[in-house]
Amino acid sequence: MNTIEANLKRGSAELAVLSMLSSEPMHGYEIARRIKDRSGGALRYDLASLYPLLYRMERDSWVRAKWQQAENGRHRRCYSLTRKGRSKLTPLRTRWRNFFLALDRLAGLRNA
């Protein structure tokens, strides 16, 4: 992965995770799987990048985690958005939209 992609991936991780959790609570693997599926494989977060981010978001009270028993009997830690996390989502979306609009005006992304 080149530097631009790596930096974009790192920078967009908060937005990606918060967006996934805005629909429903889910555990780490489910978050990673949905991000990969919905981005058509362009964004992938593995264990090493996802859990530190989730712990940081939990520390900052953006998400809360609760142990739950899954259908297969295994215990999973499910994450859900807090009010604080939800309030972060709109400004994050706006910032990223503005960023890509600016980049589009600058570099003509739509013509690429």
């Binding site: 780490g28 489910e30 264990l47 859990y51 520390r59």
Partner: protein, 172 residues
């Protein structure tokens, strides 16, 4: 089904953190889910296991990153304790001014605060520490078990109201 908890624990054997077991329990589910997905896709068990675990090349990397994320939580807790201590100090100073007119330059005369003397500083300190300590503890507890912030303060204050009167006679 392989024991992913043991496999992850083994890979993190030299990572020492007080939340280690909880972290191991949680992140072991990740390769576990991947393994099941690969089996469903038709991979042989051993191949699926290898691929599920190969997602992380260096297990020290997530350990370090998780440690860093969790260290921030400790700093927050320390900050909470310091703020509580400062609040206790402010309450003590206000209490001292209220109960000890002599400190303001005048004689200690009975008045509105006749039931308090300058010796009341110790029980006031004890009560202030009890209240602020309980609030701090409850706020921290609130972070762990996710009770709402205001509820944490109410629980803490209630705890302080119970602990404070116990300490008051001891301090006086």
């Amino acid at each position: 089904m392989p024991d992913f908890k043991s496999l992850v624990r083994r890979r993190l054997h030299d990572w020492h953190h007080r939340d280690r077991e909880q972290v191991v329990h949680e992140i072991a589910g990740h390769p576990g889910d991947r393994y099941e997905e690969l089996l469903r896709d038709g991979l042989a068990s051993q191949k699926a296991l290898n691929e599920a675990l190969s997602e992380v090349r260096d297990w020290q990397e997530p350990a370090r990153a998780i440690e860093f994320a969790k260290r921030g939580a400790m700093i927050d807790r320390e900050k909470g304790i310091w703020i509580s201590a400062l609040a206790a100090l402010v309450i003590l100073i206000i209490g001292e001014i209220l109960v000890s007119p002599v400190h303001l330059g005048g004689p200690a005369t009975p008045g509105r605060w006749w039931w308090l003397t300058e010796h009341a500083a110790i029980p006031i300190l004890a009560a202030a520490l009890a209240v602020t300590g309980a609030v701090s503890w409850a706020a921290d507890l609130g972070k762990r078990v996710w009770i709402p912030g205001m509820m944490a303060i109410l629980v803490g204050t209630f705890g302080g109201l119970i602990v404070g009167p116990i300490l008051l006679p001891a301090g006086g």
